[in-house]
Symmetry: C2
Subunit: 223 residues, 2 copies
DNA sequence: CGCTTCGTTGAGCAATATCAAGTTCTGTGG
DNA sequence: CCACAGAACTTGATATTGCTCAACGAAGCG
């Protein structure tokens, strides 16, 4: 559930001919700042986000932090590897999730449709993380920040009259830790884009993308 | 199939009580330099590596390259997202794979055991990529190179008399592109570790780890 | 209204990239 | 077996990017 690509999210409609299924899934709301799970917790559930914004983080012993992904509605989060979670998941904006039993990934239990959806989400996740990998390793600060804005606005931006308005539900620190930069560099880069007339700000938490083409170009390193 | 963690690889033994299954899997050998698949190819198979070393790469339009992972025996590679592959996979050392039909990931086809193994490999992959993400974004050149050597030697190193000998089947360029560094930085960092007495070289393609503790420390940033 | 957290800006610095030689290794043809 | 050519690797000098440290401004919250 990298901020990208999940646009290809497959809705939860049952395939024709498939039995309606005995769904052991439950809804759950999560208030801002609350953890869905923490590193070390036994991974019993997989979560399908229906509202809010979540943040998946890993922390190194010495405190260095990496935001692995932001989870938005439609994303599926919390895939287990082994029995325990290896990352923290916190709601940065109050939200809601559908919890699926971890066992829904076992072939012989639960319904086929849910199983397939979770599986495809996992595969999409692998692909999205490959993109993220590429970005972290090979892109400049400007490209990273621009890419992030483009991707986020594709997910949650509203376009009107050639202007795209996009909320930034996460702090600068979260963005920095997602992109592998410092807070200062993120801030400076946003300022640079603003001064270049590519973006503007309402509040620090709302970007207005004035020139999407330029932003996309910046994201790809042709600035 | 990041170079790490697959040590947790689950062998292909059938679970008790499971029908032997009509396996549609086939063996295939791949010579050095040959591609298993390329970006854009229709993803019809998933590959289970039984011998050799493979390299999974993504290339940006402008030529910037990222090695997503190295595939070693026991790893499973080529998970599809959508219909086409989004990366290239090349054998850097002659090898062999078992090919599984992509459909083995569909619940209702093929045997349950294979399905579960592939699924768990995918989940392990997600976890491994999270580690890789963290490393790319947050570690210094020294930490990256040291981590790489530690991880690789855990997979393919041979220890004897407190000395671990480990082949480096990939070129410096491959290592650099895996770690998000330049060839020169990789080379300099290896030299630095060598001059510090932590490692030594036979040929450029074989490391001797003389002080594993020091290497592990370096990998974790306490040098 | 003050406090605290978050974000921006500036100056200097450190790590790594880049550019440019050299050196070693490898394979090939004589 | 040796000489040579090309590739891979190492090393050095310099440039650049983004980090660190520090101060300041703005916004949420009691």
């Amino acid at each position: 559930m990298y901020v990208t690509l999940s646009s290809a999210f497959t809705p939860a409609t049952a395939a024709p001919g498939v039995v309606p299924a005995p769904v052991p899934a439950q809804r759950r709301t999560v208030s801002a700042g609350a953890h869905l799970f923490r590193e070390g917790d036994i991974a019993t559930n997989i979560y399908e986000i229906t509202a809010g914004v979540f943040r998946l983080t890993r922390v190194l012993d010495d405190g260095r932090r990496q935001v692995i992904a932001f989870g938005l509605p439609g994303d599926i989060i919390g895939f287990p590897n082994g029995t325990a979670h290896h990352s923290d998941c916190e709601a940065i904006q109050a939200g809601a999730v559908i919890t699926h039993r971890r066992h829904a990934l076992n072939t012989l239990e639960g319904d086929h449709d849910t199983h397939q959806r979770l599986l495809h989400a996992a595969l999409r996740e692998i692909s999205a993380m490959q993109d993220h990998l590429m970005m972290l390793a090979r892109k400049s600060a400007l490209e990273k920040v621009a890419s992030f804005l483009v991707t986020l606005s594709e997910r949650i931006g509203k376009s009107r009259e050639g202007l795209t308005r996009c909320a930034l539900p996460m702090s600068r620190a979260d963005i920095a830790d997602f992109l592998g930069l410092t807070i200062e560099t993120v801030s400076r880069t946003l300022t640079r884009l603003r001064k270049a007339g590519v973006i503007a700000f309402d509040r620090a938490q709302t970007v207005l993308i004035k020139d999407m083409d330029a932003l996309v170009s910046a994201a790809q390193g042709r600035d």
